[in-house]
Symmetry: C2
Subunit: 216 residues, 2 copies
């Protein structure tokens, strides 16, 4: 255990904000970026089933092309890093089996012991949802990853901007996600705030505790 204090958690979550203007000259160190990638990879997901991928866009020309389909928001090109959260369009029986092979391998457990789990996955995800429901489910899993990323970045003192304002079909085309069976659902820009970002000093607006929490 290597826990943090409540004060660290709350101070850093108050420090963060959806950065609008990044310092284009400040890059996230490779060590910090590796930690953020690892944090994303460790994100829990329903049944543990891999349902989305993180697409890290480093090519400046690709980022310029994406910016056009993101209402020209400057974060797309000026932030140090850009990640597109891409949900799987389908979860096939084959993918379930690949996942179960991974479970068996990592946990040194016989594949046959996972038969009931296989039935739950096939019944719950492959056959239990129609395509629209499965896509919505995979998108929600990706959002757990988004929440994890924003939180992790804030705790490391790295700025991040969750962004939904883009044309996902165009993103799929530019990034070639279609041929991987993926669909862009949300993105995050990350880096360091510019000193001139006027949003940095605005007071955070959140509902009052009594409007946000219900106790039963």
């Amino acid at each position: 255990m290597n826990t943090i204090s409540r004060e660290q958690l709350i101070q850093q979550l108050n420090w963060r904000y959806a950065t609008k203007q990044y310092d284009p000259n400040r890059k996230i160190s490779s060590e910090d970026w590796a930690a953020l990638e690892e944090a994303m990879r460790l994100t829990p997901s329903s049944y543990g089933l891999p349902s989305w991928k993180a697409v890290v866009v480093t090519d400046p020309e690709v980022r310029r092309r994406l910016q056009v389909f993101a209402f020209d928001q400057s974060q797309v090109t000026e932030a140090s890093h850009l990640v597109i959260f891409a949900a799987k369009k389908q979860i096939t029986e084959q993918e379930v089996d690949e996942y179960l092979n991974l479970v068996a391998e990592i946990r040194s457990t016989p594949r046959t012991s996972l038969q009931k789990f296989r039935e739950a996955l096939i019944g719950g995800v492959v056959n239990g949802m129609d395509e629209a429901a499965r896509r919505a489910w995979a998108a929600r899993q990706a959002y757990i990853g988004l929440g994890n990323f924003i939180n992790s970045a804030a705790l490391l003192g790295i700025d991040a901007s969750p962004m939904e304002g883009f044309l996902p079909d165009e993103f799929d085309r530019v990034l070639g996600l279609d041929k991987h069976g993926l669909h862009a659902v949300v993105m995050v820009a990350a880096g360091y705030r510019a000193e001139t970002d006027k949003y940095a000093t605005l007071t955070k607006v959140r509902p009052a505790k009594e409007d946000f929490l219900m106790e039963v």
Copy 2:
């Protein structure tokens, strides 16, 4: 700034797991729980618009009733705390105006200066989505809160289990969410793992880095 180290982040995210069996005698302290509630309240959301609420269920009898509609999973009653993430079914023009009043108040800015923002909110959320799309959008916002909660709990050394396996309509009924215009989308149990939880020592299964990350 009161940042944490990369090692803390990764160690705690590796420490966490979806706890199956809680120690029913260990309760989260009121100080830690207040920090987790505050972390949830600070969750970012699209446009900053409040789109979900956290329903904290403390009544043991209500938790027993919910358990029946959650496939009898023991976490529902045995974990120290239980939170239902409830998304708003509707975002009305009135709610947009209440939010803008809050922005104006907190930021001491004239309400008239928010007119363009109002148009974006009405166009983007109230009129720009049909009911199904708006519900899906609100549910995704709640999942950012879920990701934030899981991450925050892990960093404080508190166990948590995200749970989708329940009947949301029955939850709505038991918790009286309908009359508040809310719909249960996901829940989390939190507390401390029982020493006997065999899942605690299983190796975490995640896709390999090269299967999870795409670089463009």
